[in-house]
């Protein structure tokens, strides 16, 4: 094996359908306890026919916050986390990583906040996204909850970032 090959990253394989007994751990969808500064994020993962993806596992990353949630039969997931902070010239956002049966590698997207319009306008990642697709990265707010659906395909396919 040549030196160049030796340094190649180990390739990905799907998380498969049978991870539910192994990857979740107690309380893993909650990065923090409910309280001041916390926000609930809810959404659904949908495939190219608009059907729920019931065998996905999503990870929310933000600063030192980490949470993980498996989708249910309706493709629904939820997280509880502290409101994200603005960092290094970027608007506040969560990194969201999606693993599922049928995904040979994870997908990476971002959840931006609907009430940060000025910061979002100046955000370099949103700027890199075609203007007509930016809205797929911005959550809606319903009461105290941020709503964010992940559409793997289709007219409103969520923007994913190359890893």
């Amino acid at each position: 094996m040549g030196a160049e090959t030796a340094a190649a990253p180990t390739p990905s394989q799907t998380v498969g359908p049978f991870f539910g007994f192994a990857l979740p751990f107690p309380g893993d969808a909650e990065a923090v306890a409910a309280g001041p500064g916390s926000v609930r994020v809810e959404g659904q993962v949908l495939d190219g026919e608009g059907k729920p993806v019931a065998d996905a596992i999503l990870e929310l990353w933000e600063g030192e916050q980490f949470a993980r949630c498996r989708t249910d039969a309706e493709g629904a997931f939820h997280f509880l986390a502290l409101q994200p902070a603005a960092r290094a010239g970027q608007a506040p956002h969560f990194e969201l990583t999606v693993f599922a049966r049928g995904l040979l590698r994870q997908l990476a997207t971002r959840i931006y906040l609907p009430d940060e319009e000025d910061a979002n306008r100046a955000d370099p990642a949103l700027e890199a996204v075609p203007a007509d697709r930016r809205e797929t990265l911005i959550a809606r707010r319903s009461g105290g909850v941020l709503l964010f659906d992940v559409r793997l395909q289709g007219d409103r396919e969520t923007v994913f970032f190359a890893l």
Binding site: F21, W61, L163
Partner: protein, 226 residues
């Protein structure tokens, strides 16, 4: 820049990709503030030393060939990554997962769950004691069988180093027929997922040893070291 052996998102031979692979181009962000985003801290994930021994999670011994799987988690510079979380899950020796989603009519083993985790040591080493998983059928194509494999989840230092993959066993005749493994277009990439039998790792009269190193994207060097 090293070669990239990643599978494409769309690989129609693996049918579940057809409605799940994104169809629009992925957006590329600058590596400095996206790929190199430091990974989270995992104090919340409970990891106990016994979690790396999948043969002692129940009252009795699981059925099957006892095996040791060990190796290192390396960064793109070939340095071992210390203290990173490695999670594994697998079918039992009969090819059946504990997971309720699995309906394959092979027996469950009351002495085997098939899930483990550990943190890498200061040199980036990990080690699991388990049993060799069985092959199992699935409905992707007529008479489809997955080669024996162990699922691995690894974090590493950065967002881009996050890796979920599968480890296979040398000489498994099902590998050339498996659309999940064959989704990796380059044989050199597929070879990176196959462990090696290691006589030195094998423990006499106890367990066969299989060695498998994992290289993740990203450097664990501090900026000053780069």
């Amino acid at each position: 820049m090293s070669i990239d052996f990643e599978p494409p998102y769309l690989h129609p031979d693996y049918r579940s990709t057809v409605l799940r692979a994104p169809t629009r181009p992925l957006v590329r962000l600058p590596e400095e503030w996206f790929h190199h985003l430091p990974g989270p801290v995992f104090g919340r994930v409970p990891v106990r030393p016994q979690d790396a021994d999948l043969t002692r999670q129940h009252a009795g011994q699981p059925l099957g060939e006892r095996i040791i799987i060990a190796g290192r988690v390396l960064d793109s510079d070939g340095r071992g990554i210390p203290g990173t979380l490695v999670e594994v899950w697998q079918a039992n020796a009969a090819g059946r997962y504990v997971d309720p989603v699995d309906q394959h009519p092979a027996p469950l083993d009351p002495n085997f769950t098939g899930a483990g985790r550990c943190l890498t040591d200061p040199e980036g080493r990990y080690r699991f004691l388990t049993v060799r998983p069985g092959a199992y059928p699935w409905r992707n194509q007529p008479n489809a069988w997955r080669p024996a494999h162990v699922h691995f989840s690894v974090f590493g230092p950065e967002l881009a180093s996050r890796l979920v993959t599968q480890m296979y066993f040398p000489g498994d005749p099902l590998m050339p027929f498996d659309p999940v493994l064959q989704a990796i277009p380059d044989a050199r990439g597929r070879a990176l997922l196959v462990s090696e039998f290691d006589p030195d790792l094998t423990e006499p009269e106890w367990a066969l040893g299989f060695r498998w190193d994992i290289t993740v994207r990203g450097s664990s060097a501090t900026p000053a070291e780069r």
